[in-house]
Subunit: 354 residues, 4 copies
């Protein structure tokens, strides 16, 4: 590929935009052509994120800046719910491929979108309902083919990535009972984004953990939808998110009843086979316990499998970095698939330790 | 009470010993008469823990120091498994009341002790099996009467305190199905004690969370024993401990199936009624979410109750400070009950924030 | 003392108010009679700070609430600059003793106040200039007598407490050159207060340290004033504050040139003698290095003394908990002195470890 | 360059070895051919550092493994003091280029080495004194030419990198008085390496900061030697290291008296000119304050310049990641210079935020 593909990031000033710049500035096939945000207009992105100095010094443009290039081949919406659904049509008309980080394009019908939206307090109807049936859910490992032929991808929620990847093989192979599944998820604080908030003020958080939105988190819908697709029946789960005092990482502890006769070996085989061609999913047995730091800064999802013989339960630990595989990394992975370049382009970093 | 009761702490140099000193130095009815440990012999405790300077400056004595007072009325064993079972008989003979922090006296039969011990890699038989039937499990809220007439208390495990207090009212009132209970517990790092360890080295831990001993943690036995007692039938649970990067605090997220017809109101009423006379247990509804920092440094257990209507599950969040209600605080509470003084003596501190 | 003295806290909802409640709820001579704030009016303080549940459940009153008792014997202004100077006159007229946490009453002339105020961006003239000559600077160790006969105390800045206590004995005894003094101070994040702020958002701070207000911090004035008083000549210092990712604690590293012939022994003697009657100041030699955690949660200032023979420098490490000795603890200590009760009342807590 | 240069890492299991693997696995001109350590022999490096899974899975070899390749073109000694001085001769004889992380080759005479060694408690004489005059101090920015023609480089200490880079331009241009320089340095905990230690145990450290080795840290020698070289006269400094609770980063606050007539503009010009050709040093004025997180995970040294007009002092804030520019990054930068490839190869990463 000789010429680089032009990419624009809307909402560039947030963590999701920063993450995309970190991955794209050295991407072999694309170049960052526009950074768009409502805040810090005119400032170089490296003034907002000084570590980018010398790597990307593009200034932030206002969304309505007439100088903004209109020939972007890919547009990331790293924006809150409600933005992409309004602005995506324009970019799609211009021929751009669109990847939206929010829940705007994760659902294919207005009905399920409405249910989702109610959870986050949105009452307005979807602004572009005609696009919903065209959008594809951007969990690459499950929808690679549809993504490759789509122009509009709804990037998955960070919790959803870890829970869905952690459960799909078991459901797909019928190893577990479809009822009574529990996802107990723990996230680092960066999942809450860049805006200061009393709950994430350093003194309030450095020594505090808590559950929140108990039985009411909006990610439950996309998890149940994907699990139902794979299980070929309706799946309903109990999902409890927690915040713990670290920055990056989601650890989901997933509990399910094993079907009779299923043992650890069967489970390990099923998972390894399911993810045979998925470089970003690594499967481990109980002898190789994993920690969130093992995926920090990388696009990997580490899954460790355990069986509790006393109670007949499968216990899956599924780990991702919420800002990479849980957000910008998945977005870049989807972009690669949409563009037909190698899926791993720009993503083969192990992260740093410690 | 005119004269103060003499207390000795064996294993004074660890976190459990330090916690006891913090609570006892200003206790209205007792005085610390001996600090005993194998390490740092001869050093004032305030050299080991400089914050105690001026509050308690007693030197650490060796366990076999002939100067050690033999008329201690209360002896805390803040020692690892295996110490109390060897040394308690001597102190009991001298007329001391003994409170042991380890698993040495949490079980009443050799058989269940052996099962417990196998989980922590102990192969030796119990050194004082004749004491097992005499010991009382030191979860004050459940065994106050027996504790008050006992000379030998096995202080509960930190995870066990949070899980048992979080589940007992529901089981006792028959509000939940006795099968399929899950306890997903998260602990701060101080639960691992004072000895340095690769897994708790600051750089390895500040940004890392992980599950461990999945389906194999030794606290599961005391939890199941207590729950079975209350439920009047055999209870088996799934228990998964996690370590997260904070210092103090256990948050247990407990899942159980509600029996038909049981709603949030019934649950709240049952819990409030169950703990009506227990000042150190606070019950909250879903409108008052709690965080671990709300019990940090105090002897309280905060319980918040939630019902997931979509799946018919009770979700209980049970919070304690693992070093206070989960260890030294419970020990002091038990001591108060054993001595017949007010149960709250020395324990009415709210902790500090932030 | 039979009847308890009535105390009110204005600005009760911030960290400084919370700290005062933590110290006063169990104070032997006073009772908290009113908690006043502009935010969270009507809420029990224990809704804002759940750890206080059962210890202090008073509701927050609005500043202009007609129900507010007007017979408070002591009023704490735990408020930002500009509030106390407006409202103190009313309370003084009512006969209350007033302790203000801000810079409003730390200076005795309008001129120096103006210079101070310019550093924090205040342009208005002082609202009660007639009170300035009557106010006393509330560093108890240095101004005990004046405080005991005053009705208006300006509580010192947190950095100032550590730097002044760390330097006074050396200057008072003429052990160091009065020129070229450097105070390199490091503070935990709670010093910035309770309001969320991008710089103190957990993800932005957990792994970040920085200097700020280099050569421009407002505390330099009170430090220089106090040092000049003690040295009986004009003292000018270089003061650089830093924020590091912990919650509580100030560590000031103080550098000064030793006068010829002065050695470590002379220095240690001078410091111990200077603070002979000051229970809350502990002096240590180089053999007893101290860390911020050794004063966390307590009203102590730990000072460790070191001499660099290669360069002839005195290096003093001065440690306080910014929220206790650096704020609420000093305020309570001042109150005790103003009321003529024992100076340590309510303050003899060692803090908790770890 | 067609064939890749073979590199071996001795001491691969520590943080310094891990850091080298992180930088070299994707280096365009070299390949990692041998990982050598005394611990974890036989284990893939990705078992020790799971984030490297798939990026580098070489097994660790024992130092005396006969299978160890003897044709390594570059050997990193990521080992404690005392190892490189014994084993480097063998590798140099084989024609390898050697880069040693410890103090073994930072000094050119036995005399100064002995003084250094005494600070770290070593009493043995240097094992290869004949190599000392041949070794080059590996601060690339100052010794690029000598490094390019050397086979033996003593990589600089982490504190030294930040202090030397922060001071050299001022001394070289005669902008500051050569006397009375103070370096107040703060480091994250990873600087202490991978071995657990009571002082770096998470509970003991998460809320603790302290100074250590006051006026006695061994890095002072290399700092003074380099500064003296640049200043062309003897320089003696006061150096105080501190540990604060974060993982990566050194912030050195450097104080020096400005010579008369020197102002901020002169200083900024001198620094920018001094580092004109040094891509890894970034110079900022007081309007662009920097934090340690801005260099985390990268090979950059960020320097911010400030002048305190009240006291005539230059205050330089110099920031590095102690594990990159302070260790493995400098080593790779030196390797690139020694090999004659582009100095930035493998090093152009911005790090990740937050």
């Amino acid at each position: 590929m000789d010429e680089k593909i032009k990419v624009g990031i809307i909402g560039a000033g947030g963590y999701g935009g920063c993450g995309a710049v970190e991955l794209l500035h050295s991407h072999p096939h694309v170049e960052i052509s526009a950074l768009i945000d409502k805040q810090d207009v005119g400032k170089p992105i490296s003034d907002i994120y000084p570590h980018l100095t010398g790597f990307c010094d593009l200034p932030v443009m206002a969304p309505d800046d007439p100088e903004c290039p209109d020939d972007l081949q890919v547009v990331f919406f790293s924006t809150p719910d409600g933005v992409g659904q309004k602005e995506a049509p324009l970019w799609l008309k211009r021929g751009s491929k669109v990847i939206d980080y929010s829940g705007d394009f994760r659902f294919n019908t207005e009905e399920i979108y409405r249910e989702y939206a109610s959870r986050i307090g949105r009452v307005e109807a979807h602004a572009s309902p005609e696009l919903l049936p065209l959008s594809v859910y951007g969990l690459t490992e499950l929808h690679r083919d549809e993504i490759s032929s789509s122009n509009l991808v709804g990037n998955p929620g960070c919790f959803a990535v870890s829970c869905i990847l952690g459960l799909c093989p078991a459901l797909s192979s019928g190893l577990i009972e479809p009822e009574g599944i529990i996802c107990d998820a723990k996230t680092g604080v960066s999942g809450a984004g860049k805006s200061p908030n009393p709950a994430f003020h350093y003194p309030a958080r450095y020594e505090a953990m808590n559950a929140y939105k108990i039985s009411g988190h909006q990610h439950v819908f996309e998890i149940e939808r994907e699990l139902s697709l794979v299980a070929k029946r309706d799946i309903r789960i109990t999902f409890t998110p927690h915040v713990v005092p670290l920055c990056r990482g989601i650890l989901s502890t997933i509990y399910a009843h094993l079907r009779e006769g299923v043992n650890l070996k069967t489970v390990e085989d099923a998972y390894r086979s399911f993810y045979e061609h998925d470089i970003f999913v690594r499967v481990f047995g109980p002898d190789r316990p994993q920690a969130s730091i093992d995926v920090r800064g990388s696009n990997f999802c580490n899954i460790s499998l355990n069986v509790d013989d006393r109670t007949g339960r499968l216990i899956v630990i599924s780990l991702v970095d919420n800002l990479v595989k849980g957000q910008a990394g998945s977005a870049v992975q989807n972009m690669n698939v949409m563009l037909g370049v190698e899926e791993t382009a720009g993503l083969l970093h192990p992260g740093i330790y410690p």
